[in-house]
Symmetry: C2
Subunit: 206 residues, 2 copies
């Protein structure tokens, strides 16, 4: 059986739980407490030298990390990843964009607000992430104004990757009031057959 | 013919030039000057709303951005991307790691040092990127101590993506003296048949 090292506070982890649940792959979860240094122990660094969750371990011991790489691998051959080469490339474009332009601003702001004391330094970091975070949301809003889902008008791992932190963007200080196309897309994602919320996917731990 | 929007100062752009040259795909280049705002014009934003190079435009007008998504797409079906699913996932793991943990520290430090005045704010940014940049190099060093190339002991787009900014890491203030496995790997990459240097790939513009 697959083993997923995860922390229920992570939406990067939620991405992986969701694709495993949607595709019916049995897995067990080992929750590590990021805030308590449990991803930096010698034991876990021996599994993933990058010391990050989510990390997926296969039955034969092979290890895969990076949430979006895991998403792509688990979705291969399913309806959640198109088979046509250019559409696959468009999915990857969104996945890379998420990790470079969206997550470091919106997810990190949420983490700082929820788990760090709001010192002057932390407030300066939050301030620096405001404009690029809003720019990321504006780009999604523009795209979703004329598209039902991010790629090929069909729900895919691109939507999973972007839903993960967008639906909790307000917890990072990014109000979604002005983004009506994003709010409508969030509802469409939540109505996809088999959809499971972040709270449900982590057994109610968040 | 393919059209590549690029800036010769970008190693993200170099990744794409290199895979296009290695795979023999004819392309023309339109160089835009990032420093002069040429990626933020209405004309270019109509092509790529994210306002970033590299951006690849196909003959029929389809557009693909994000350097590593372009790498993956252009390498599909070639020796530069394994066909075995788990090896492909490992390539993607490195590509996502590069964009999240390597490029924002090492490439951004190089950009700041080369193109920004070293004000107190910029020096503070450089200082903040020092430890995560060294951690990224240490992770590569550890992996390359026991591997010839990053995935499957075979040169792939994972090596292209990591070579792009690692071989110029010193320009970002990251000395490679202590990283002998990385230095040996850089030489192996440069000895791959058909390899073209960043300077050659941009027609000597850098």
């Amino acid at each position: 059986m697959l083993t997923l090292y995860d922390d229920p506070i992570s939406s990067n982890g939620y991405k992986v739980r969701l694709i495993l649940l949607l595709t019916g792959k049995p897995f067990r979860v080992v929750n590590l407490d990021i805030l308590n240094g449990e991803t930096r122990t010698p034991e876990f660094l021996a599994i993933n030298p990058n010391g990050k969750i989510p990390t997926l371990v296969f039955e034969d011991g092979r290890v895969l990390s990076e949430s979006n790489a895991i998403l792509f691998h688990c979705a291969e051959g399913t309806d959640y990843l198109p088979s046509e080469p250019f559409k696959r490339a468009q999915v990857l474009q969104w996945l890379f964009w998420e990790q470079y332009s969206h997550e470091p601003n919106i997810a990190t702001s949420r983490f700082l607000r929820q788990h760090r004391e709001l010192t002057e330094d932390v407030l300066a970091m939050l301030e620096a992430k405001k404009a690029p975070g809003e720019a990321a949301l504006a780009l999604m809003e523009r795209h979703l104004t004329s598209h039902i889902f991010l790629v090929a008008e069909s729900f895919s791992i691109a939507d999973i990757a972007l839903y993960a932190y967008t639906h909790v963007a307000e917890e990072g200080g990014f109000a979604l009031d002005g983004y009506s196309a994003i709010r409508a897309w969030i509802k469409r994602v939540e109505n996809v057959p088999g959809f499971i919320s972040m709270s449900e996917a982590s057994g109610g731990a968040v």
